[in-house]
């Protein structure tokens, strides 16, 4: 038998009908995650055709995108301020009830960002296919799943048939040698990878991340890497499951237990790619050479080391991006003014991210004039952080400690920056206006973001290390 990659094994196991020259494959979906923003039109389509949801038991809903992170609004002490966001929340509550779909609603202690809760609840498991009407579904690939974002029409297809029509993508190996230095995180690594591939470099591909530098990462760190695959154009990013994966999952509510657990692990151990399996391309990067990274432009491929400089020259798009950002070619990033700091998003809102930010902030105050939002990825992350006293570190520093949700990553829930403001953000996109019309985003990891909050300037977090 031809040696197969991790991706090929999962793809083949989910082909209901194999692809031909004329028709795409009918691909089975094991887990369909739904949220309030990209589903109302899909449910309406089913309703207009009189179709049921085929597998409500393989569908899990949460409220995160347009859901406010203000406790009073979230917990119903005051109405949700944005009436249209309130209508989206109400629509998903109604649709979930009507179709028997489990929804982690506003007051649910398990609610959170869709790509945080899936793994946290043990619903994301190796070997699965997972889709969601959100491009950062690639996050789940950290568990050795094939997980990718889809549009709303496709959400309707999955609701009605539990399947998608898909052409088989190509597979790109990203091999990470060496290990990250102390003070450098997995966000820095993935920013370096996106910088290397460019925003279109992974188009048409699934990325498999592998090598010593990946094996050494925790599950939360692996999720950060897979999360940003889409920023290089790849719909999915994957990492072969190993002992780290199994240790993370064991004992979680959605994970198999007892004898089923043993059988599951046995199955999962067969998932990693066979020796000699062929990829369509390979890119290699040395983790040990990665520095704390930050973006300077208006797409996630425009990155440099925090201690580095903006390139001296570029094309018209480069110049347009710098004009938007208010930067000059060749300028150093360190020392640039910062107005707002955001710790959160499906990229960096898990407990270890909050710990990394708190380690920098402990015993320090925000620089004068800087606003900082800390938004945990889920209500469970929030409680775990509070149990360690991280909330008190953030509050004592002068930051805001909010309820879980997408918050300033997407800026459609009331959490936005003003036009012209500079935001150092642990999220995934620095597109023009992403965090509010006219806002200017610098993407970075949690330690770099926290360091910027303390100094009010772009700062290498290693300079503040205790």
């Amino acid at each position: 038998m031809t040696p197969r990659t991790l991706f090929e094994k999962i793809w083949q196991a989910h082909e209901v009908v194999a692809e031909t020259a004329e028709t795409p494959a009918v691909l089975y979906v094991d887990l369909h995650l739904v949220h309030e923003v990209t589903t109302p039109q899909a449910f309406a389509e089913l309703e207009s055709r009189g179709l049921p949801v085929r597998r409500p038991d393989r569908t899990l809903g949460t409220l995160d995108h347009s859901t406010p992170t203000d406790a009073a609004e979230l917990l119903g002490r005051i109405p949700i301020r944005d009436a249209s966001a309130a209508a989206q929340v109400a629509a998903l509550e109604r649709n979930a009830r009507a179709h028997g779909i489990e929804l982690l609603g506003l007051g649910d202690g398990r609610r959170g960002i869709v790509h945080v809760i899936g793994p946290e609840l043990g619903r994301t498991q190796p070997g699965m296919t997972i889709v969601c009407g959100d491009s950062h579904t690639s996050t789940h690939g950290a568990f050795g799943t094939l997980a990718f974002g889809i549009g709303t029409t496709e959400v309707g297809h999955v609701l009605a048939t539990q399947c998608l029509l898909q052409r088989k993508p190509r597979c790109l190996a990203v091999t990470i040698g060496g290990r990250l230095q102390a003070g450098v995180g997995s966000k820095d690594l993935v920013l370096a990878i996106v910088g290397r591939l460019g925003v279109g470099g992974g188009t048409g591909h699934v990325i498999e991340y592998r090598g010593e530098g990946i094996r050494a990462l925790s599950m939360e760190e692996r999720m950060t890497v897979c999360n940003m695959s889409i920023e290089a154009g790849a719909r999915a990013g994957m990492i072969a499951p190993d002992a780290t994966t199994f240790a993370y999952l064991q004992g979680r509510p959605g994970a198999p237990a007892g004898e089923d657990w043993e059988h599951a692990v046995e199955r999962w151990q067969a998932l990693p790619g066979d020796a000699g399996a062929a990829f369509d391309g390979e890119v290699s990067l040395d983790a040990a050479a990665v520095e704390p990274m930050i973006s300077y432009g208006t797409n996630p491929g425009m990155v440099t080391a925090v201690g580095g400089s903006i390139p001296e020259a570029g094309d018209a798009a480069f110049m347009k991006a710098l004009r938007y950002m208010g930067f000059e070619p060749g300028e150093r990033l360190a020392g640039k003014r910062v107005d707002l700091v955001f710790i959160g998003s499906c990229t960096n809102s898990r407990l270890s991210d909050l710990q990394a930010a708190a380690a920098v902030l402990r015993g320090r105050k925000l620089a004068r004039g800087v606003r900082m939002l800390v938004v945990p990825g889920s209500q469970q992350v929030k409680r775990a952080a509070e149990a360690e006293g991280l909330d008190r570190v953030f509050l004592a520093a002068g930051a805001e400690w909010r309820e879980s949700g997408c918050s300033m990553c997407i800026g459609m829930n009331g959490d936005v920056a003003a036009s012209g403001q500079y935001v150092v953000s642990t999220s995934n996109r620095n597109f023009e206006g992403r965090q509010g019309a006219g806002s200017r985003t610098l993407l970075a990891g949690p330690a770099t973001a926290a360091a910027a909050a303390v100094t009010g300037r772009v700062t290498d977090p290693r300079e503040l290390a205790a």
Partner: protein, 197 residues
Amino acid sequence: MDVTATTPIRTIRARTVVLAADDVDTDQIIPARFLTTTRRDGFGDALFADWRFDGEGQPRPGFALNDPQTRGAGVLVAGRNFGCGSSREHAAWALRDYGFRAVVAGSFADIFRNNALKNGLLPVAVPGDALAWLTAHPGVEVTIDLEATTLAAPGLAPAPFPVEPFARYRLLNGIDELGYLLSRSGAIDAYERSRGA
């Protein structure tokens, strides 16, 4: 095949408007603040909102869509990697709602391409020389022939563009994709039975 029909597309003949930019992301096509709706229409006014309008809602002079001469253009010409970023189908809805029937670009992001094809918005990726010519000739009337998979204009030799064969068949014949998937229910049943799912 028991499928609900959609409107077939065979040929698109329309004038172009040129947005000479690479990596146009879906946050530019439709900013997130316009996504808090449960409808799939009415997005045309928000298309490229922050490029079209200033903070006071006034049209920005110099942006192609604000040029009165481009009114009624049915084909948008852009650069490489059009539609990157978010999976929001609202981007395809907004382009369609504004009146575009095709986007011509050097290449497309995967999710946007899928979303466009599901909404009767044709993603037309043409070779670099054809794109350069189109960029240099804004407002030209192009003919996009889905059957022949070529784009032509007076002065431009027909340029080939790729379309996934099933999407082409579906668009040419007005086949509804969900209807097609539902017609495979027997295979889906069998698959679920075979793995005890």
